[in-house]
């Protein structure tokens, strides 16, 4: 089993280049266990590249990512990935249950078939994402948000300790958004860690405990309350000051509202 006390994700001096242009330089940070973490930054800041570099999908020129103290190769079963939702219509005859069961394949040898235990886990994962009614449905018949939930259920069925997601909230419907928030709560309650690329600054406070601010290099990493300062946001989103002032004001207000709610 995974050592729960180990740091779920540690990024050490990661640098990525694309066509000889630096995309990310010397990024280091640690993600604590049992938290939800947002990677934020403006468009083109290298958020998705960072996640892909961490997962070994993009070659890195320097640095490494350690999962519970080890490289990804040794920790594939404890790490689940949810890719960015693609606008593709699969012409692929496969039902929802079978897609979720694929999340169990890592635990099976190539000649083994999923057993009843695997099916129970997959069913539970679908139930958790309010997709039980769709388990016999062909994946090609689902809406984009429902497809997203199937991929989340697939990751959940893997029973990992660390979940990395590329913009899970991008372009989803309200039902899916709610389902993802519930999923975050449930995963955290079990002591699991969630790391997401996130694009909407307004919702960072609401959804996440930690934030990693990126703009071609690391600006700041830490608890949301500490790192989402005007100064850090200026450094991250530099140039677009008027917009920023509005945003920081909104953030300030939402914090006030939260404070009021707690009264």
């Amino acid at each position: 089993m995974t050592d729960r006390s180990a740091i779920p994700l540690k990024v050490e001096q990661l640098s990525i280049r694309y066509h000889h242009k630096p995309v990310l330089t010397d990024v280091s940070f640690e993600v604590p266990a049992g938290k939800t973490v947002a990677i934020i930054g403006p468009n083109g800041a290298g958020k998705s590249s960072l996640l892909k570099g961490i997962m070994g999908l993009t070659p890195v020129i320097q640095g490494q990512a350690l999962f519970f103290g080890e490289p990804l190769d040794k920790k594939r079963l404890t790490t689940a990935y949810v890719p960015q939702r693609e606008e593709i219509d699969w012409d692929f005859p496969i039902d929802v249950m079978d897609v979720v069961l694929m999340g169990r394949h890592g635990q099976l040898k190539f000649w083994q078939r999923p057993n009843q235990n695997d099916r129970d886990i997959a069913e539970k994962a679908l139930w958790d994402l309010q997709m039980s009614d769709f388990s016999d449905r062909q994946i090609s018949q689902l809406s984009g948000g429902q497809q997203q939930r199937v991929f989340l259920a697939r990751a959940l069925a893997q029973q990992a300790s660390l979940y990395l997601m590329d913009e899970p909230f991008a372009g989803v419907d309200v039902a899916t958004e709610k389902a993802i928030i519930e999923l975050f709560k449930q995963l955290k309650a079990q002591g699991n860690t969630v790391v997401c690329v996130h694009h909407d600054l307004n919702t960072v406070h609401e959804y996440y405990d930690y934030a990693v601010l990126i703009n071609a290099r690391l600006i700041a990493a830490g608890p949301v309350d500490e790192v989402l300062t005007k100064d850090n946001l200026n450094k991250t989103y530099g140039g677009r000051l008027s917009l920023l002032n509005e945003m920081t004001e909104q953030l300030y207000r939402s914090q006030l509202n939260q404070a009021h709610d707690q009264d």
Partner: protein, 262 residues
Amino acid sequence: MFEFSPFLATALIGGIGLALISAPLGVFVVWQRQSYFGATLAHSALLGVSLALLMQTNLSGTIIVVSLLIAWGIFTLNHTQQLSSDTLLGILAHSSLALGLILISLQDSVQIDLMGYLFGDILSLNQNDLILIAVTGVLIALFYWKHWRDMLNITLNSELAQVEGTEVKKVQLQFILLLAFMIALSMKMVGVLLVTSLLIIPAAAARRLSHTPEQMLGWSLILGVLSVLTGIAGSYWYDLPTGPAIVMMATLIFGLLLFKKQ
């Protein structure tokens, strides 16, 4: 009315064998939307033919090597050039076909049946081809026994498959290798220009009948064999060119299944 000659026996066995090796590759070509990629490899087969004639090398072997080189070229150019992949495929498909035709026309010493290469000549199948078809069939069966689930994973999302530990590049390379084998062998039956149809049409027809990947595999095997048998029969009784007859029968089956409600 029906005279069973050894030629016909070889043609029938070879035709069934080719249907059985095309169908399993075809389902993934359809799922991964790679039909233009398949067509490009098929077009490049004529370049293989002309090089084999020029250098007096083994025909099937040369076609396989040329197909692999073209596949490697597509892969490399796709990753280094800012070209959309269908533009790239279009350029490679037709330039390799054109180069093949030029090289063939330059060899005036031998009489070459160009039509046979372009549209196939099932009676040119021989014992050696039957053995090669059987070997390819076994290789495909072994590949799917080991990598069926990996291929499904790659089809669903290749990045996810890679993160979960599937050796995506290695598996895809093996798939392309099998595709090159299949094209080199079926070219004799249906010709360079029609090879892709053996991959795509039975699989596309099977899609109408299937709810799982395994069902689609099964149906495309059945429909592929059915197209080949009815195509050969049509060609035998009505004196039609065999390759086009097979393709038309496959298209007819596909057309009929379009009316089926899903």
